[in-house]
Amino acid sequence: MKPFDYVRPATVAEAVAAAALPGAVFLAAGTNLLDLMKGGVSRPDRLVDVTHLDGLDQIERLADGSVRIGALVSNADLAHDADFARSYPAVAEALLSGASAQLRNAATVGGNLLQRTRCAYFYDTASRCNKREAGSGCDARDGENRSHAVLGWSESCIATHPSDFGVPLVALDAVVEIEGRGGRREIALDQLHRLPGDTPERDSALEPGDLIVAVRLPPAARGFAAHARYLKVRERTSYAFAVVSAAAALRIENGKIAEARLALGGVAAKPWRARGAEDVLRNVAPTADAFQEAAWRALADAKPSGDNAFKIELARRIVVRALLLAAAGTPARIPALPASPFAATSGAIHA
């Protein structure tokens, strides 16, 4: 790890100013940043420790019915907040399907959203990677890429964003509050992460010094609480990133879908909102056929970036299943195996 200056600002404004300098990065829990620094992927000159800032670790219910989650709230505290989990069950389930209990205890809301890709070529400093080093090339494009993107990728980058948390958040129209050199502003979470295009070195819309201070879910997000699930296929039962995941949330009125929300994880450089599929589902009955159609629509633009054509078919099937689960209704308690296809096994076997 490269030596760095460590600064601990007293206020958000100080933090923003300190982090705006070249070579500076924010340190929150560090569960991703330290990993990157140990691997030589990230070599900052200055760490601006925001963990001691006041007021960023609250979950607030606002008068208009929205919820405001401080950027330093831990993943575990958010998922285990009973009121939050009741109101936004898919978000809680996604949080609990990510990483491990230890990492969730440390990792923050802001850090989760800003975690970097897990592309092995990004992590491997001996490989060429346009995201790590602009213009160096992409060794993943013709490499071991079965886990890479099938949506929104470019010839310069086929990495995916690994967050589970971001997937239901983007489906629920989450808004990110940012403190920057120009003061406070907010953007839709859907606008936070960038698709790679020709500039994959830029993961997000953030400018130097920009600090995420909160994530807000608008009032309408609560309306999906009765029919919301997150589903994640992985290569082991727990403690693994998604091969593909989906968040599905439905507002069902009089036996019809009044409004549907759908987003995919593990398929693109950002949590992938499937608005086309949502349109398909508006004002239709929640049937398997409708969900199939939505799934086709959701993946209509997908194309393999390597040995990963299977992910397109897998994503379609996950969409269908996640919608079916959501339609069946949010379980009273988050399953023992959150987001797992095995979440609901009862054990009885029939020949």
Binding site: M1, L34, L47, D49, A76, A106, A336
Partner: protein, 165 residues
Amino acid sequence: MNHSISLTVNGARRDFVLDDPRVTLLDLLRERLHLTGTKKGCDRGQCGACTILVDGKRINSCLALAISHDGADILTIEGVARGDQLHPVQAAFIAHDGFQCGFCTPGQIMSAIGMMSEAQAGNDPERIRECMSGNLCRCGAYAGIVDAVLEAQGHMDESNQRRSA
């Protein structure tokens, strides 16, 4: 640049000067405070061998900078037993053979203690398995680990009942 920090480690306050901000809690414990019960298996938050409790919560100490945890209250495996009296989780790990080589064991035990205070898994084996999945065991002692946690959880439930009765 030197940084003065203070930590409470296993109940004792430790003040010291950190000459390097790169030092993780794990390396601080092992190489500077010589508390080597906490183990380094991967150093990247991928195995759980370095699990400790910080302010009562289990975390991976390999991914935590010591300097950022100035003022924290830390519990490591060395601080779990009361003298010769083992913590119920420790005793249950022995009784159920919840380990073989023992290298992941301090992390497993700290994780189990942290998990029990999180009160999410209760005595449901499936939830215990899920909630203990951040601690890899290459020997494959998982069955004994789950049984040990169930027994310790039972002890805790009993003593809670006694207390409330």
